[in-house]
């Protein structure tokens, strides 16, 4: 079946030796002209790719301070060099974050700095050739934009920013990635990553209502396009049908039901994911985010709540206010944002994470649980990279770690932590984030999961862990696929709201 195998666990997690060229290759499938042109990118590699790429780089250097400063500031200290899960899993030196940056920095120096123009050898500058472009395509698609490296860099250099810029340059000369661009096309055309049109979505939700009724005997609703609902739920479309995601969706619905909250999904914005971030395109990022604004305006909702999804929460928490005005604190004169912000209820944080929503209710004693329903589980928490290092929950820094854990402890009796070097802001990516969750990258995905699997295995040996909670659709999909390769049951991974769903007591309220 598969031509990939799990790398061996390291007995002690020492830094692996380098294996130059270990992951050389063509990278993931390239987007065809249809997928490219739908997003306004050229269909194939353009004639004057060299000049176009350099011009695009100059453009991005002028628009993003992160890129500008990060191209200059790195001192090659190597602090980040052993922090990337893809480096640990593949041992390819070009997967060291600093080396990944240098793939671009070498070009930056050649075309944009004095030293690189006149003394290229001295500072490791090189010409932009076709080979370099291919190398970029390959290695910038071996970065999940997880930002672990940026935690440890003394200047906070974030390789994710460099990867995003590189992908944007590549797409703009005709070398986009098939997986991401195809999906973005579906979002624009149909409303979600899966390409699930409105009637099919409605069917799915009705089916779900019946299933839940059978299970609980209660009429728990999954409303779609209800005008005047209080809450608009934006969730990754995987929640509508994939396992184990769907159990999380049922969990959200039960929480809404238990508190009599009126809520709705939107068929126009039936997707929390925003792959615009993965391909580094501000325009796409914005365009995808605007659908949610439109849905919120059209449905007249008071609150926007976001389901369990890592990068979607980063985009929602950190970028929505900027991109689409979902948030608070816009200028009086800012008509674009005020239009929406006037409508939203600012007694609540906008947007709100579903975990914040549930935790708030738990604190107010509005939910009842039978914790013993989760007694068959020994639970641990895998912090998802975008939630951990690119967002927050609650009022205090680090709420993104505390709140999901608090919920788990409120609904279950057995919770243990994994090695502290691999949780919270030091968490390892699942290996499938950043637009890499595609079958044409299976080998990379398996190897990239090594650091997490090592530590999970430790927790399994020591504490008998049999449930790893994650609040990210990509983590859930990635782990259910690769855990069997490491000899674990695929059902070991699940959401936080799946646990909530198991334990919640729904009386006849």
């Amino acid at each position: 079946m598969a031509d990939y195998t799990a790398p061996a666990y390291r007995t002690i997690p020492i830094v692996p030796a380098l294996k130059p060229g270990a992951m050389e290759g063509k990278g993931p499938f390239i987007a065809n002209d249809k997928h490219q042109e739908a997003l306004g990118f050229p269909g194939q590699l353009v004639e004057d790719w060299h000049d176009k790429a350099i011009a695009k780089m100059g453009d991005l250097l002028g628009k993003f301070r992160s890129l500008r400063v990060y191209m200059d500031a790195c001192v090659h200290c190597g602090a980040c060099s052993d922090k990337c899960h893809y480096f640990i899993g593949t041992q390819d030196p070009k997967n060291m974050p600093v080396a990944r940056q240098d793939l671009m920095r070498s070009i930056y120096r050649r075309y944009f700095t004095f030293a690189g123009k006149y003394f290229p050898k001295l500072v490791g500058a090189r010409d932009l050739t076709r080979e370099v472009l291919d190398e970029w395509y390959n290695y910038y698609h071996q970065c999940s934009e997880c930002r672990r490296c940026s935690v440890f860099c003394p200047y906070g250099i974030d390789t994710a920013e460099v990867t995003m810029a590189a992908r944007e340059i590549l797409a703009s000369v005709g070398m986009g990635q098939k997986y991401s661009n195809e999906i973005i096309g579906k979002v624009h055309k149909i409303g979600n990553n899966l390409g699930l049109p409105e009637p099919a979505l409605r069917d799915t939700l009705e089916g779900l209502e019946e299933d839940v009724k059978e299970d609980t005997g209660l009429d728990i609703k999954f409303p779609l396009d209800v005008k005047g609902a209080e809450v608009l739920l934006i969730t990754p479309s995987a929640d509508f049908f994939a396992e184990p995601h769907i159990d999380g969706l049922i969990g959200y619905a039960k929480v809404f039901h238990a508190t009599g909250t009126s809520w709705t999904l939107s068929s126009m914005a039936s997707e929390g994911a925003n792959f615009g971030m993965f391909i580094g395109s501000y325009e796409q990022l914005r365009k995808i985010a605007l659908r949610i604004r439109e849905a919120a305006l059209e449905l007249g909702v008071k609150r926007i709540v976001v389901g369990e999804c890592g990068h979607a929460w980063r985009v929602a928490y950190s970028f929505w206010n900027t991109l689409s005005g979902v948030g608070d604190g816009a200028d009086e004169t800012d008509r674009f944002a005020q239009m929406l912000q006037k409508q939203l209820d600012h007694r609540y944080k906008q947007p709100t994470h579903i975990c914040e929503f549930t935790w708030d209710l738990i604190q107010r004693d509005a939910l009842k649980f039978d914790k013993s329903k989760n007694d068959r589980f020994v639970i641990t928490m895998h912090d998802s990279c975008n939630v951990a290092r690119g967002s927050r929950m609650g009022d205090l820094p680090g709420g993104q770690f505390e709140i999901p854990r608090n919920i788990i402890k409120a609904v279950a009796n057995n919770f243990v932590e994994m090695d502290a070097n691999t949780t919270r802001e030091r968490t390892f990516c699942c290996g499938g984030g950043g637009g890499l969750l595609t079958d044409d990258l299976m080998d990379l995905r398996v190897k990239g999961a090594l650091p997490r699997m090592e530590v999970l295995n430790q927790a399994v040996q020591e504490h008998g862990v049999n449930y790893m909670a994650a609040i990210c659709a990509i983590c859930k999909t990635q782990f259910s696929k690769i855990m069997p390769v490491y000899g674990f049951d695929r059902r070991m991974v699940g959401g936080v709201h799946q646990l909530v769903s198991n334990a919640i007591i729904l009386g006849d309220k």
Binding site: G78, A337, R392
Partner: protein, 241 residues
Amino acid sequence: MSMIFAILFYLATLLFVVGLLSRIKLYAQTPAPLKIPTTPAPTTKTGVAFRLTREVVFFESLFKANLWTWAAGWLFHTSLLLVTLRHLRYFTDPVWGWVAFIQPFGIYAGITMLLGLCGLWARRLFVERIRYISTPSDHLWLVLLIVIAVTGLLMQFVAHTDVVAVKTYFLGLLHLDIGSLPSDALLLLHLFLVFALLALFPLSKLLHAPGVFFSPTRNQTDDCREHRHLSAWAGKLESEK
């Protein structure tokens, strides 16, 4: 010789100041369109000031990343700071009180600086990963600093130079009055390399010093939901709608 070094001094200072300021201006003027602090991040401006202070004074992130690099790097930088401040005595008359006070520490700092630099270089030479990412210029910077430190220490402990004459010469330069510089080889080499360092600073990775203050992952406040953050070019997209 005095003349040549005077010209080099003015030229290097000019390149350093103009180069650095223009780079800082460029960083300051480049917008940061999105909120990207590496979280958990401070939620207030004061908190951000503390975070940056911890980065600059203690190299907090580096400490989390790698103790050896941190130890050598921190030793080098704090020593460098002391040494630099100590050198103010050649530019002030009378010597400021606190400069006189740190004088003895400054001298030992020369030795610890050298130790730190050697530690960093050893890492670069012997740790496979660091050797892989090193360019020739990375090695040369360390060599340059090591030679500066060694020549300085030699003058301090072995082959004394006429420091009074040196001081008179530099005080003169501050008033555009070019006196005569002792011409021992150690001193000339020491000065030449320092001038080289100053001139090349704004063209090199030494830009990490201003860079750390402009890094969005470190200098942004985590208040994304409470304040709308919009850069000029991104705002234009809205009016075009």
